[in-house]
């Protein structure tokens, strides 16, 4: 719509402008211009060109083929490697206007058409489907002769996506696209470019649908996942079954305190005093004598007949002998028997290795016994018993050791204390009635060779009762001394001296008289030769003499042991022994315990029945050792 003023104002046309010139195949080209204002008047445009070599100006041969405001140069008018100088002129009634000249060389302005016949097909191979894109060069481009060399490019995208995926295809006219999404719709476009030129436009979109397929990779992964899950479940199940052993293996149980009476809660509370006090169990350590006896191997058991307390000890070959008291502790024979018994002992014991020693010993013993006896009589052994007895032990046991066998030399070496042996053996009878305990008996076997020796058996002095009032001989029987010993008197036949002949049958009671107590608190026992006439029991001679019959305890805390010689047969020669001898070597045997020693007796008091050194040949019947250590008076 032209207004009033435009009608009246006209001007020459504006300056046109050549926009671009293009050649699609390097054979023709087209130039386009842009007209300027027309100045209100109809304006015509003309294009003029000039080739570089000549000055001739030519006008555009074709204004229409290429459309409006264009100029098309056909093959005849197109020269390559020649510069065109092109100008557009706009002309109207008032004037004309030239555009700026443009220099164009056709070979530099090549822009082909789009590739043609773009075909996309879905192909299959072992890895899955893929797209095969193929095309043809633009129709007019002569690539066959090599006049134009084109390189191609294509782009692909899934339907709905924003970004294209571009691929350079080079000079080939075919391209494969892999890694497709199953069931996806793809868009494909292709374009081309000459080696030295401009890119063509993208071809029209080609749609292609990828069929649904199951990717092989996924199936493999699914298989692996299933397999792994299966393995995992199996392992879990096994682990569940063996959870205990696995727990044991991985987390071994921490050993906890297994102390009886240990309270973990108290420990957690952190008070150690309570914890430890709880551990103190009454009764530990054991202070009772229940197991005390087990600690000692052997013991000498002596018990008083009055109390009728039979202390049975289980020695190995203990033969409990019941020492029968001869009667009242006071015996007229107490003093005398020692000398005679010595003689008797010497006769019976026979030879011994330590004969000479025995002689000496016996001589010494004889002296000592005498001394001791006096001492006894004087009653200066008051301190014996009480000290020995431990207050807390109701029964004391005197145990003898098998090592007592060699007391004989010891005797000689040790000087006797005043409380020691008696010169005269006394018969100690602790109890009037002695019951042969069925327990074992100890052997007091003397070896003819060795002289007085204890047998393998044990002698156990079992001391009963605590109360021992030395002044009261009557009360003495309360404690029992039961000495069992098997005396093997092989004086008759010395051959059998080594072997301790057991006293046949009557093993229960043996009689031993305590000859003395040596310095080391050893009660020396002597076989007691009691007057068989007084006894009803059998007297056995020859096979051993039974002694260790505790007659009693006299006032001086003297253990009165009585030895009885039993006669097997009356017709034997032993009869004369029995009645005549009446050796009773009574000896007070007590365990001396000095005040210093806290124990009952520091050492076992061995009472060895030393043979009375009456004759050399006498063999001490028995050596009884009283283990004063355990003898509690």
């Amino acid at each position: 719509l032209q207004n009033f003023w435009t009608f009246w104002v006209t001007s020459p046309p504006g300056k046109p402008k050549l926009t671009s010139c293009r050649s699609p195949e390097k054979e023709t080209f087209t130039c386009w211009w842009e007209p300027g204002s027309d100045g209100g008047l109809p304006t015509t445009y003309a294009l003029y060109y000039r080739k570089e070599n000549s000055d001739a100006v030519y006008e555009c041969p074709d204004y229409h083929t290429a459309g409006e405001n264009s100029c098309f140069f056909n093959k005849n008018d197109t020269s390559i490697w020649v510069n065109y100088n092109i100008t557009v002129v706009a002309t109207n009634a008032l004037g004309s206007n030239f555009s700026d000249p443009v220099d164009v060389d056709v070979v530099y302005i090549v822009q082909p058409h789009t590739p043609e016949n773009v075909t996309v097909t879905v192909m299959e191979d072992k890895d899955g489907p893929f797209l095969r894109v193929s095309w043809e060069p633009p129709r007019k481009a002569d690539t066959r002769s090599g006049w134009i060399t084109l390189i191609y490019e294509l782009r692909v995208k899934l339907e709905g996506e924003e970004e294209w995926e571009e691929h350079r295809a080079g000079q080939q006219k075919m391209f494969n696209i892999f890694s497709l999404r199953s069931g996806g719709m793809y868009l494909v476009q292709v374009r081309c470019k000459p080696d030295h030129g401009f890119w063509s436009e993208w071809s029209s979109t080609t749609y292609i649908k990828v069929p649904d397929y199951f990717p092989r990779e996924t199936s493999v992964w699914i298989l692996i996942a299933v397999f792994s899950a299966f393995i995992f479940f199996i392992l879990t199940w096994i682990l569940n079954l063996k959870s205990n052993s696995v727990k044991h293996c991985l987390l071994p149980p921490v050993p906890g305190p297994k102390i009886k009476g240990f309270d973990k809660q108290l420990l957690k509370n952190g008070r150690s005093e309570e914890v430890f006090s709880a551990l103190v169990v009454p009764g530990f350590p054991p202070t009772t004598s229940s197991d005390c006896e087990d600690l000692l191997v052997e013991y000498l058991e002596v018990y008083t007949p009055e109390e009728q307390e039979l202390i049975l000890e289980e020695g190995k070959d203990l033969q409990e002998g019941c020492l029968k008291s001869k009667g009242s502790p006071s015996d007229s024979d107490s003093g005398r028997g020692s000398c005679d018994s010595h003689t008797l002992l010497m006769e019976k014991c026979g030879e011994g290795e330590g004969k000479e020693e025995k002689h000496q010993e016996r001589a010494q013993k004889g002296k000592r016994q005498q001394k001791h006896q006096t001492g006894w009589e004087e009653g200066d052994v008051s301190h014996t018993r009480e000290d020995v007895l431990s207050p807390d032990m109701s029964e004391g046991r005197v145990k003898t050791w098998p090592s007592v066998f060699s007391p004989l030399p010891q005797y000689s070496s040790r000087p006797l204390d005043h409380q020691g042996s008696l010169e005269t053996a006394r018969q100690l009878c602790l109890s009037d009635s002695l019951f042969p305990p069925p327990s074992t008996s100890s052997h007091l076997s003397y070896n003819a060779k060795e002289g007085l020796a204890l047998g393998s058996g044990q002698q156990e002095f079992y001391l009963g009762k605590k109360q021992t009032h030395p002044s009261n001989p009557q009360s003495q029987p309360r404690w029992h001394l039961q000495a069992h010993s098997d005396f093997n008197i092989s004086s008759m036949d010395r051959k059998q001296a080594a072997s301790g002949l057991q006293l046949p049958g009557f093993r229960s009671t043996e009689y031993v008289e305590v000859q003395r107590v040596n310095q080391e608190d050893m009660v020396i026992l002597q076989p007691l030769f009691s007057s068989s006439c007084q006894r009803d029991g059998h007297l056995q001679i020859g096979q051993g003499e039974d002694y260790s019959k505790v007659k009693g305890v006299d006032s001086g805390n003297m253990l009165l042991l009585q030895r009885e010689v039993e006669v097997k047969r009356e017709e034997e020669d032993g009869d004369r022994y029995s009645c005549d001898i009446q050796d009773r070597v009574t000896e007070s045997c007590y365990t001396t315990s000095t005040a210093a020693s806290s124990q009952v007796t520091g050492k076992p008091t061995s009472c060895a029945g030393t043979a009375m050194p009456v004759q050399e040949e006498m063999v001490l019947a028995a050596n009884g050792y009283v283990d004063a250590a355990t003898m509690l008076l």
Partner: protein, 212 residues
């Protein structure tokens, strides 16, 4: 007669191709390599002219000499496709070699004056000119080998002397203008070389039609 003549031509061409193909390196392969080098040559020259044009004084375009003023313009080359396709391979090769040979000296001049060129990108220009020289040299060697395989007529090289002085100019503008003018001439000639070789390549690749 014509039939026989065509037969003879076919025989001749076949024999020629067989001869050519019996070489250690097949001709089409050589041509392929040559084409690649010429392509690179032209690309370099094009980028050089664009780079120089970025800071080119407008007045310089006004006083730019016409392309017919190039020292190689006397060489007759095809001006359209029909003409080009009618040229024999030897001639095409000869033309290519002639053009290439004509630019050995000017490239030296350009290389020597690039550093002092009053242009901000003269360093880059200098490096590219160096590359131009390298590619030109190797292309020339390859074409020499090719010419030995392609017949005696390819051995003919037209001399195109460079009459330009050793100096591209005194003032800044004239130097730039002269530099740009030389580069433009080289750009065209490199395009010609490239085109000729690519035509030759397609002609020699009859066994591989997919290339062309």
């Amino acid at each position: 007669m014509a039939h026989r003549g065509s037969q003879a031509t076919t025989l001749y061409l076949t024999a020629l191709y067989m001869l050519v193909s019996c070489t250690a390196v097949p001709v089409n392969d050589l041509l392929d390599r040559a084409s690649q080098r010429s392509d690179k040559l032209h690309s370099l020259s094009t980028s050089l002219t664009h780079e120089l044009d970025s800071h080119f004084p407008p007045i310089g375009r006004m006083i730019m000499p016409r392309p017919s003023m190039c020292h190689t313009s006397s060489l007759q080359t095809p001006t359209d496709k029909e003409q080009a396709l009618r040229v024999s391979e030897s001639d095409l090769l000869s033309l290519a070699r002639s053009l290439l040979q004509a630019w050995v000296d000017p490239l030296l001049l350009l290389s020597s004056s690039a550093n002092s060129l009053p242009h901000p990108a003269h360093n880059s220009i200098y490096r590219k000119i160096q590359e131009l020289q390298e590619y030109s040299k190797s292309l020339g060697d390859g074409l020499d080998i090719l010419s030995g395989k392609m017949g005696p007529s390819s051995q003919y090289i037209s001399l195109l002397p460079f009459r330009g002085s050793n100096d591209i100019g005194q003032d800044k503008t004239s130097r730039l203008v002269n530099f740009q003018f030389l580069l433009s001439c080289f750009r065209r000639d490199s395009h010609k070389i490239d085109s000729f070789l690519k035509v030759l390549r397609c002609r020699a690749a009859k066994m591989r039609p997919e290339m062309c």
